[in-house]
């Protein structure tokens, strides 16, 4: 009698413990399942995503709602979502047990109001953001960033992830060690990018009164301009070359520049010099090329 009671008790206790575990742990899904959550927000919500591995895709819509959908292939990681006020936080968590980095791989699809503040931190995988307007920060190790039609104050930091900005406007600051950076058809009024061994490409117009600073250590800095562009340029490479296809006139705005006795320099003004362009490299090549 006592033994059977004990068995029943043990069984009940086990059930209770299992229930507690289920309640306490964040939402975990079976491998490959797609989980979707919706959060009602007011205008200009703040969305924070913390992941380690996997694709993060952010799009915009006109609703005052944040939709988060994710898929974890291994089923060994869980996603914790939290909403507080106008803030939504999305974090990948370990679901317990022995897991590897690959097990943590979670792909996200996130849809946010057009005007949103976005903060993304991840290590690897790709991050794509489309048509979001607002302040954004990105912090990755090797994840590549692809921003399209975004507008706002964007700050990006990678170790070797690349950054491609297409039709971006506002202000962009980016820092990488070996990631490449491309700004295609931008409408940025302020640009400060630096990469040590990566290449930098700027193919677009310079806005009047815009400031554009591009620096690297080695690699190439390539700027494409049109004949109608109006900018002052200062390009210096300490150990590399400066290749120029533009017909600059002497810089009309500052005091005359003295040629540096170290490295190769180029100073000049294109048309009325409404924008300011500064290109600096330690040992890389700087190219100022005419856009066809």
């Amino acid at each position: 009698m006592n033994a059977s009671c004990n068995v029943v008790k043990a069984g009940a206790l086990g059930l209770i413990m299992a229930g507690l575990v289920l309640i306490a742990s964040p939402a975990s899904a079976s491998p490959g399942d797609r989980v979707e959550k919706h959060f009602a927000v007011q205008s200009k919500p703040k969305i924070t995503v913390r992941s380690s591995n996997g694709r993060i895709q952010v799009k915009a819509w006109t609703k005052n709602e944040v939709m988060v959908a994710w898929t974890n292939r291994s089923g060994k990681s869980a996603v914790d979502t939290e909403e507080a006020g106008n803030r939504v936080e999305i974090t990948t968590q370990e679901a317990g047990g022995k897991i590897s980095a690959e097990d943590l791989k979670t792909d996200f699809e996130i849809t946010v109001p057009v005007e949103s503040e976005l903060h993304v931190r991840t290590d690897s995988g790709n991050v794509t953001v489309e048509s979001v307007h607002g302040d954004m920060t990105f912090d990755t190790v090797g994840a590549n960033l692809q921003l399209t039609d975004v507008n706002g104050y964007v700050m990006a930091k990678t170790i070797d992830g690349s950054l491609v900005c297409t039709r971006c406007s506002g202000k962009l600051e980016a820092n990488s060690i070996s990631g490449n950076m491309q700004m295609i058809d931008p409408s940025l009024d302020s640009l400060r990018v630096q990469t040590s061994s990566g290449n930098i490409l700027f193919d677009g117009s310079f806005l009047s009164r815009g400031i554009y600073i591009m620096k690297n250590f080695s690699g190439t800095i390539e700027v494409h301009f049109a004949s109608s562009d109006s900018f002052d340029v200062r390009a210096t490479s300490l150990k590399g070359d400066v290749i120029n296809q533009a017909s600059f006139k002497p810089d009309t705005h500052g005091s005359p520049h003295a040629e540096s006795k170290f490295g190769h320099s180029l100073f000049g003004t294109m048309n009325d010099g409404h924008a300011k362009v500064e290109l600096t490299s330690f040992s890389g090549t700087i190219k100022i090329l005419k856009r066809d």
Binding site: L104, F217, T236, S260
Partner: protein, 238 residues
């Protein structure tokens, strides 16, 4: 008798005046309770006191609304400081051989100190984790080095930062091997840049651009180490 009565009346009044003043202190500008109002009506001294304190308050309020002209030099100096810190989106004044930019660590001792603190924190982290790894650290750049001690400070700094980087990353427990590889690889990239910059500075001591690049590379290294620590502590997540 008359005097005794007068003294007693004065004593009572003073006690009440003391209480009244305490109430004034606590109420500040708020409404006075009924007993205090009654005392105010009866006591000329407290009436004068209350009126005087009110006059001082009113005069002070007028002072507060006053705006004083600021010498223009304040704005000029402020603007220069904002330029120097890169807060304003401005063009740096053209100074040959010293293109301003984000590598102006040498000109900003506070930043150098913060950068060095970062490396010190990394060293402390390693010491904490492994227990057996000891990296003797001190702060050669805690204060801006004088010109003739600069090169020796650089040398010490370089040796220590190399030591930190090479020891730290293998010690950290980062789950994702790809992340560890990336950090290690890029640490090599930055160390290579540091070496190249040092050669340049050695060959051309008056090459300010090379020196700025050197400190920029140190700064990048500190950022990389901070990222490495960050990823390890959180296991790649937060």
């Amino acid at each position: 008798m008359k005097f005794r009565r007068k003294w007693k009346a004065m004593k009572m009044m003073n006690m009440e005046c003391d209480q009244f003043e305490r109430i004034l202190e606590q109420q500040d500008n708020g409404p006075l309770p009924a007993p205090a109002l009654a005392h105010l009506e009866a006591c000329e001294t407290c009436r004068i006191l209350s009126a005087d304190l009110g006059a001082i308050r009113d005069a002070a309020l007028e002072l507060g609304a006053e705006e004083l002209p600021v010498p223009e030099r304040v704005w000029i100096s402020l603007r220069q400081q904002l330029n120097a810190e890169g807060i304003l989106a401005v063009e740096r004044p053209p100074v040959p051989e010293v293109p301003a930019g984000w590598w102006a660590v040498f000109q900003r001792p506070a930043l150098a100190g913060a950068f060095l603190s970062l490396l010190l924190a990394a060293a402390a982290m390693v010491g904490y984790q492994s227990g057996s790894v000891q990296i003797a650290m001190h702060s050669p750049l805690a204060s801006p080095p004088a010109g003739n001690t600069f090169l020796s400070a650089e040398k010490e700094f370089k040796e220590e930062s190399l030591a930190i980087g090479n020891v730290l990353i293998p010690q950290l427990q980062i789950r994702d091997a790809a992340v560890t590889d990336s950090l290690r690889r890029n640490l090599g990239v930055v160390d290579h840049f540091i070496a190249m910059c040092e050669n340049s500075v050695r060959e051309q001591p008056d090459n300010e651009m090379a020196r700025e690049y050197l400190y920029g590379a140190y700064e990048q290294k500190a950022e990389l180490l901070a990222t490495a620590m960050n990823r390890s502590v959180t296991g790649g997540l937060q």
